[in-house]
Symmetry: C2
Subunit: 525 residues, 2 copies
C-alpha cells in the first residue's frame, strides 16, 4: 500500500522523471483476442525487450551518482571505426569505456582482463549493476573493462545522439557484428598499449550483452579465453524456439505463485477492452489506474500492464532490488498477494491496479502514473529489433495469461518500414551466428562458454539450457531470474546463487590456468 | 629455345593477347640494393600476388572454351546484399555461381554440398582448374557449387566493372568478410530452395580461396562441416612470419635445382642496373630481352623477371601444365638447365633471357615481349592488398636471390593512398581472423580443417605447416607447389600426390560420416 507521506518537491519531481523514463512501453506482442482486425495496430510489432529506457538512466539521478561511487574506474574514450567491414569513408566515433587496473596483476604476471560486453544502454549503469565482475576481479588479479556499445550512452557516432539517430542511413551501423568488432579492436589496442598481449581476456555479459559475449567467444576465439553469457537468449530467433516461449514463461511464473492471480490477469484484458468501449469508459479507467493524463486508448493501458508483468518476471529476484524499479524480494509473490488479498468485492481492475502498484509504485510516492506517449521514438533497441534482432513473439491461447497473439512477420516488417524506413533481416542472425542445430555446430567447435539462465526469467526460453560439450556448459537455476548471477552479492543471496557463482568462478579459473599451461607448453616447444 | 615455325595469324594474335594479360606485374617488393634512394618508387609496395591477371582469362579464349566443356554445370545468379554488416541502402548485385547436381544424392539421402570458395578471378576459370572437386564429387554423391567472389568475373556491384571499380567508395565493399557473408547467405538460400538443410557442406579453396575456406570454417562453423584449405597463407600477415619468407623460398627453390642458376639470377640485378645506366643501355636491354617496345626503365625489366621467378616457384609442378602459362614439368629445373647450359661465353643477361623464355615463351611462338605498362590499374587484388590483405614482403640480404628490400609500411601506405585514396588496415585481418598464437587459439576451437601446402610453393611459408589438433591437420608435401592437390588428376601424378589426395578424401569422408552420426544421435535423443 502506498505510504502517503508527502515527499519533498525535489524528490517528487525526480521520481516523476524516473517514472516517465521507466514507464516506456517495452512490450506489445499482444492483441486482444476479440479484435483480430486491429492486428495492424502500430504496436503489434513490439517484442518484449531486455530493458526499457531504464537502460538510459538520467545521468544526474541520485541513484546513478551513488552507483558510480560504488566501483572505482577511469572513464576513457577510444576512436573507433564506424564500419569495420567496408572501407567507406566515414567519421570515427568515440567509444567510451570504463577501466580499472587497481587490482590488475600486470603484464609480467599476465594478469587477466575482465571484459564486459556492453549492451543497449549507458555503460556506467551496467557497470553499477554488474557487481559480480568487480567483486571477483581482485582474487584473479584482473583488470576490469566496461566498454560501451556503439549508439548508446555517450558512444555516439556523428557527434551527437540526434545526428546518430537521425535516419536509417546514420543508424545503419548499429549492429551486433559492428559492436563485436569494436570490442575486438579495443581489446587488441588495450593489450598493445599496456604490453598485455599475453594476458588472457575473459568476457562477461548479461541479456543482449550475454549474447554478445557468447558470439564474441565464437567469432573471435583468438581474442578471449572464455565467456560467461548470462541470460543470453541466442536461440530466440527465427523458428528455433516456439514464439510463445517468452509469454508462456511469464505466465507460468505468475501461475506458480498463485492460480487466482494468474486468472485475474488473464481475465482482465477483456474487462479492460469492454470497459473502454463504454461511455466515459476511458475516463473511468484513467481514474481506476490513477493515470496523470486521460487514457487515449485501452491499448496504451494494456501495454503498460503487459510491460509490468514481463519485467516483473525478469527481475523476480529473491531479495529487494532496484535494477529496473525499486522492488521487494520475490516481487511477483508480492504482486499476487496484493491482487489476491484485495478486499472482498474488489473488481478485477481494482485488483490489477493494486498488483501493478508493486511494480510501478513500490516506494508509494507516486501520485499519478504517466503512460509513455512515444513508444515509437527513435530508440536504439527498437532499431536493432527492426533490423537484426528479430525475435518472433506470440502469445498462446492455452498457456499464456496475455491476450492471444500470433506473430506476423509481414505486419512487423510494415511497421519497421514506417518507423525507420528499414527492412528487417529475420534470417541474418542465424546465418551469421548460427542457432539451428546448435549442439552439432558447437560440439566440436567452440569451448569455454558458460550459458547461465534462471528459469523464472522469460528469456531463459531462448537460452542454451543443456551442456553442449565439456567446456560449453549450461548453468540452470530453478529460482533464478534475469542474469541474477552478474549482480553484486548481498547478505540475502540464497544458497543456490552462492553455489552458482562458485561454479562460475571455478570454471573461469580453469580457463585461465589452462591458458597459462598451454602458453607455457608452446613456449617450451 | 624458341621454335621458329610461324604460327597462324589468329593464333599469334591470341598469344599476344595472352602475353599482354599474363605479363602484368605481380611482384615488386624489390629495390636494387645500391639505390636505396629509389625506395619511394611507385612500385615498391607490390607484394607478390597469388595470381596475375591470369585470374581474368579472356572469356573467348580457346583454352577457356575447352575447359568450360570439361566439367558440366549450370550458371546461375543470386541477388546478394552489397553490405551484410550495415543497413545502408545499397543496390544488390548479382553473384554468379556455377552449380552441378548431376551426381548429387539429393536431400533425402542428405547428399553433401561441395562448395568452392571463389577467389580473386573469374569463377569459370577456377572451376576449370579445380579438377579435384569435380573428380571426387561422384563418389560422395555431392552437389558441386562454385560461387564467384564479389567484384570479380561477372559478379559486379553497381551494374558493371567500370562502375564497381570507379573509386574507393564503390570498391569499399570488396573485402574478405563480405565475401564470406556472401557464401554463408548463398549456402543457406541454396539449402532452403533445395530442401537441403540437412545436407553437410564441405568447403574447398586454394590460395586466397583457401584462406577464405579456412576462415569460413572458423567464422561459420554452423554452415559447413569442414574445409580443405590448400596453399592458404593465413599467417602471412603483420609480424606472424618473417617478411623475408616468400622470397627466401623462391630463392631456395632455385638454389635447390642449381647453385649456379641461383647465382646467375642473384648477380643479374646489378648487371641490369649498370647496363641501364650506360648510353643506349635501355636500348641494348630491349634487344637482349626481345621487348616489343623500348624499355623505359630497368625497373620494368626487373619486375618482369621477378614476376617470372615467383610464379615459376608457385607453379613448379612435376608435370607440364597450363595453369598460368604453358610450362613443362619441373619448370624451374628447365629454366636453370637453360641458364646453366647456355653456350660458354654467354653473358649473364643472355643466360637470364634463355631462362625466363621458358616461362614467357615455352611454346616458342612469341616474337617479342610486351611488358605490362599499367601495373597500377584498378585491379581487385591490388585493392584488397591495399586495404585488408596487407602482407609484408622483404627480400633478405643473405638467403634471397632478389635485390635486398626492407618492407616499409609507411611508403606502402602512401602508394595505396595515391592509387586508391584508401588507408590500409594492416592489423585488421589478424584482429578479425586471428593468426598470432594460432595453436592456442585453435587447439580447443575449430575442427575439420585441412591445411595443405607444398614446400616448393613460396606461399607455404605463410601456411599452417603443423597439425593444430586431431582434426585441424597440416598436410605438407616436400615436392608440392601452389595448391597442386586441387588440380585434376593426370597420368603423371607422382605417388606422394596420389597419397595426399587419398588422405584428403579420407578426412572429408570422416567429417561427413561424423556429421551423419551426430545428427542421428541428436535425432534419436
Amino acid at each position: 500500500m502506498a505510504t502517503k507521506t508527502k515527499p519533498s518537491i525535489l524528490v517528487l519531481s525526480l521520481l516523476i522523471i524516473i517514472i516517465n523514463i521507466f514507464s516506456s512501453r517495452p512490450s506489445l506482442a499482444s492483441e486482444p483476442s476479440n479484435s483480430p482486425s486491429s492486428s495492424s495496430s502500430s504496436s503489434s510489432r513490439w517484442a518484449p525487450r531486455f530493458l526499457g529506457r531504464f537502460s538510459q538512466p538520467p545521468n544526474h539521478s541520485h541513484r546513478h551518482q551513488q552507483q558510480q561511487q560504488k566501483y572505482r574506474y577511469e572513464t576513457r574514450y577510444f576512436s573507433q571505426r564506424l564500419d569495420h567491414f567496408s572501407f567507406s569513408e566515414l567519421p570515427n566515433f568515440p567509444q567510451r569505456y570504463l577501466i580499472s587496473t587497481e587490482h590488475w596483476a600486470g603484464p609480467q604476471r599476465r594478469g587477466p582482463i575482465f571484459f564486459y560486453c556492453g549492451n543497449e544502454g549507458d555503460i556506467a549503469w551496467f557497470a553499477a549493476n554488474t557487481g559480480f565482475v568487480w567483486e571477483i576481479a581482485p582474487r584473479f588479479g584482473a583488470m576490469v573493462v566496461f566498454p560501451e556499445h556503439r549508439y548508446y550512452g555517450e558512444s555516439m557516432p556523428y557527434g551527437s545522439r540526434d545526428e546518430a539517430y537521425k535516419n536509417a542511413t546514420t543508424l545503419s551501423y548499429l549492429t551486433a557484428e559492428q559492436a563485436l568488432a569494436d570490442f575486438a579492436v579495443l581489446i587488441r589496442e588495450l593489450k598493445r598499449n599496456l604490453s598485455a598481449e599475453a594476458c588472457p581476456v575473459v568476457l562477461f555479459g548479461g541479456s543482449y550483452g550475454g549474447m554478445l559475449a557468447a558470439w564474441m567467444r565464437l567469432k573471435y576465439p583468438h581474442v578471449a579465453v572464455g565467456a560467461l553469457a548470462s541470460s543470453a537468449p541466442i536461440l530466440q530467433f527465427e523458428d528455433i524456439v516456439p514464439p510463445e516461449t517468452f509469454y508462456d514463461i511469464v505466465s507460468n511464473t505468475f501461475k506458480r505463485e498463485s492460480t487466482s492471480c494468474f486468472n485475474t490477469i488473464k481475465e482482465s484484458w477483456d474487462v479492460i477492452t469492454s470497459e473502454g468501449q463504454k461511455n466515459d469508459g476511458l475516463l473511468q479507467l484513467t481514474k481506476t489506474f490513477r493515470l496523470c493524463g486521460t487514457l487515449k486508448s485501452t491499448e496504451d493501458l494494456r501495454n503498460w500492464l503487459d510491460s509490468a508483468y514481463s519485467y516483473l518476471a525478469m527481475v523476480n529476484y529473491p531479495y529487494s532490488s532496484e535494477f529496473m524499479m525499486p522492488l521487494p524480494g520475490h516481487p511477483i509473490r508480492e504482486v499476487c498477494r496484493k491482487m489476491d488479498g484485495s478486499p472482498t468485492g474488489s473488481s478485477i481492475l481494482e485488483r490489477i491496479f493494486e498488483g501493478v502498484s508493486i511494480y510501478y509504485n513500490y516506494s508509494g510516492s507516486v501520485d499519478c502514473f504517466q503512460l509513455d506517449d512515444d513508444p515509437h521514438g527513435l530508440d536504439g533497441w527498437n532499431w536493432q529489433a527492426c533490423t537484426e534482432m528479430v525475435m518472433p513473439m506470440s502469445s498462446s491461447r492455452d498457456v499464456s495469461m496475455f491476450p492471444t497473439y500470433d506473430y506476423n512477420f509481414s505486419s512487423f516488417q510494415d511497421e519497421c518500414w514506417k518507423d525507420f524506413r528499414v527492412i528487417p533481416r529475420p534470417r541474418w542472425i542465424t546465418t551469421v551466428f548460427g542457432g539451428h542445430d546448435i549442439k552439432t555446430a558447437l560440439k566440436k567447435f567452440g569451448s569455454n562458454i558458460i550459458f547461465s539462465n534462471g528459469l523464472l526469467d522469460p528469456w531463459s526460453g531462448g537460452g542454451v539450457l543443456q551442456n553442449v560439450s565439456e567446456t560449453i556448459v549450461a548453468l540452470v537455476t530453478k529460482e533464478g531470474a534475469h542474469h541474477i548471477d552478474l549482480r553484486a552479492s548481498t547478505s540475502e543471496d540464497p544458497d543456490w546463487l552462492l553455489e552458482q557463482r562458485a561454479i562460475e568462478i571455478k570454471l573461469i579459473e580453469g580457463w585461465i590456468s589452462n591458458y597459462y599451461q598451454e602458453e607455457k607448453a608452446i613456449f617450451n616447444m
